[in-house]
Subunit: 201 residues, 2 copies
């Protein structure tokens, strides 16, 4: 995703320049991911220093702090998406698959909890949802399957079930950030709440 948001490899850039650009982008995203977790106010100047690139290079790839945040978030969601695929959401009963999917997504969300808190505070809710689309598509397919198989409730719109799962996952992340839940409790309370909410019983 960084690739489409960046201006790397444009006209006049040969393979060597393109490879340099991709290395810079990865360095920027790695530095932003680590930096934002400890220091949510991270500025573009601090980010350039931490990534070991010049400010011109940074701004060549990312026009703003918000663009960096969006790209780091997108990378974290890609990681969640890959983890969900690995958890085989199409296998077993829909309820069992949802249990696995919640636990798997939680592990990725937990790794990026601080980053998600910064993104949540700075990006509009519609942008947050858009960045999550790839991961949410798996949940949506699973909800549809659960409804077709009669395992999940069909009295509520799928979009709402999806919003509920999404908001509960992020509520648990906030509760861990604020010390109201431990990171170990979170997947247990999530599964215990999401399953009856989605099954309606």
């Amino acid at each position: 995703m960084a690739r489409t948001e960046s201006r790397a490899g444009g006209a006049g850039g040969g393979p060597r320049r393109r490879a340099d650009a991709e290395r810079s982008i990865e360095a920027i995203l790695d530095a932003a991911q680590a930096g934002l977790a400890d220091h949510p106010q991270l500025t573009m100047a601090e980010l350039a220093r931490a990534a070991g690139v010049g400010r011109v290079t940074l701004y060549t790839h990312f026009a703003s702090r918000e663009a960096v945040l969006g790209a780091v978030l997108e990378r974290a969601v890609d990681e969640a998406s890959a983890a969900i695929e690995a958890a085989a959401p199409r296998e077993g009963s829909a309820a069992e698959a949802l249990d696995r999917l919640v636990r798997t997504s939680w592990r990725v969300l937990d790794r990026h909890r601080r980053l998600f808190a910064v993104a949540h505070a700075e990006l509009p809710p519609a942008d947050m949802r858009r960045h999550h689309e790839r991961a949410l598509a798996h949940v949506e397919q699973l909800i549809e399957r659960g409804r077709d198989e009669g395992d999940f409730r069909s009295d509520l719109p799928t979009t709402w079930l999806l919003s509920a799962v999404y908001s509960l996952m992020h509520a648990a992340a906030e509760d861990v950030n604020s010390g109201q839940l431990t990171a170990e409790q979170a997947p247990e309370v999530l599964v215990a709440m999401i399953l009856p909410a989605v099954r309606g019983r």
Copy 2:
């Protein structure tokens, strides 16, 4: 709450000056509530104009846009809190009371949906939760009662049940803002989801 956040009626202010100050504060909060709903970027200068007060008066009462936003939010939550009290959360079974409480809170949340979206985007989650405390205290008491009476689940921490109710209510408001739900559907889908989530069946 505006009163405690304002510096009105300080040393040297007689009853007349205090009354003037309170009128200014009400005018500022009314203008902010109406203005932010239509124009989330509302500046302090625009707010002073809309409220019909000078910029010095505005800054005397509120040091920043964030202070205004906090005070408007607090007033909306007070309104929710009063509506919840009027819905008699201590009467009937806990499940019936929670049904009433969700519908009543939704009506207030729906009236202030745009304001909550602005506050959600601009205030840190911990501040948002703090501003909601008075309304959430009613939900907490009701959850405790439901657990004592064996009607609500007792396998999950009360703080988590509270976070879940809070985040689902705000998820529904976001879905109405984005057009995924209608304002009429929202209380129905909320009750249909929150009850099994809190009862665990």
